[in-house]
């Protein structure tokens, strides 16, 4: 399942610097206007009004995952100005040199 959740970074108390939790015991988001993109609960990218940043290479993302994630971000923020992804480190081939 592909879903958007709050960004995992947790806000800290401005005086004590201790991690902050809300009244229900859930972590308070450090970046309330950012989202994590999760596939089966595991983070595969981040999103904001600026666009989508996948943290796994696009070659490892099935098309339906990629497209669902972008659709969810578009619904959340109204637009997806850019999409980027981690690139795999390449070993140059003779033909590319």
């Amino acid at each position: 399942m592909v879903e958007l959740t709050q960004h995992p970074a947790q806000a800290r108390h401005p005086i004590t610097n201790a991690p902050l939790f809300d009244d229900d015991g859930k972590p308070v988001a450090l970046l309330p206007d950012h989202r994590a993109i999760r596939l089966d609960h595991f983070i595969i990218g981040y999103a904001s009004r600026h666009g989508v940043n996948f943290i796994v290479p696009k070659s490892k993302l099935p098309d339906w995952v990629y497209n669902t994630a972008v659709d969810l971000v578009e619904k959340e923020f109204g637009a997806v100005p850019s999409v980027s992804a981690v690139v795999e480190v390449e070993t140059p081939t003779e033909g590319e040199e």
Partner: protein, 140 residues
């Protein structure tokens, strides 16, 4: 305990959307100045108290240079999320997050039998202009 190697760590720039071919990432030091409080009555050692404000630190990226990439802008304020490798037993990896900007880009050397590499340095801004201080969130 969730110890791990560095393989699998990623860097995500919210606005810049950079797709870097990262070979290594170095989270720099957060350093607090020392204030010398020694007096003529001090004995044996200099005496110090901690200063008030720590340097927020930098992140240094060593990357393969991609001849097709566009030039990297310095000075654009952005939010960086460094996601650590997910260690066994966890579902959400630890992160380093903060606002800042790229303050240096060292372009490649051209050397035979070696890949072209570049060095990019990110400066955390310490939360300037209502930004986000560099913050570590542990894996859960």
């Amino acid at each position: 305990m969730a110890i791990d190697t560095g393989l699998g760590a990623t860097a995500s720039f919210a606005t810049l959307g950079l797709s870097l071919k990262i070979v290594s990432m170095d989270i720099g030091e957060q350093t607090l100045p020392n204030v010398n409080v020694s007096t003529l009555a001090s004995t044996n050692f200099e005496e110090y108290i901690p200063g008030d404000l720590a340097e927020p630190g930098t992140v240094t990226f060593e990357c393969q240079f991609d001849n097709a990439q566009s030039q990297i802008d310095t000075g654009t304020v952005d939010t960086l999320t460094v996601t650590l490798p997910l260690s066994s037993g966890g579902t959400t990896a630890a992160t380093w997050v903060g606002t800042g900007f790229i303050n240096s880009v060292k372009s490649q050397n051209f050397v035979k039998n070696e890949l072209q590499m570049q060095t990019i340095v990110w400066q955390f801004d310490g939360g300037a202009n209502a930004g986000t201080e560099p913050t570590f969130t542990a894996q859960v």
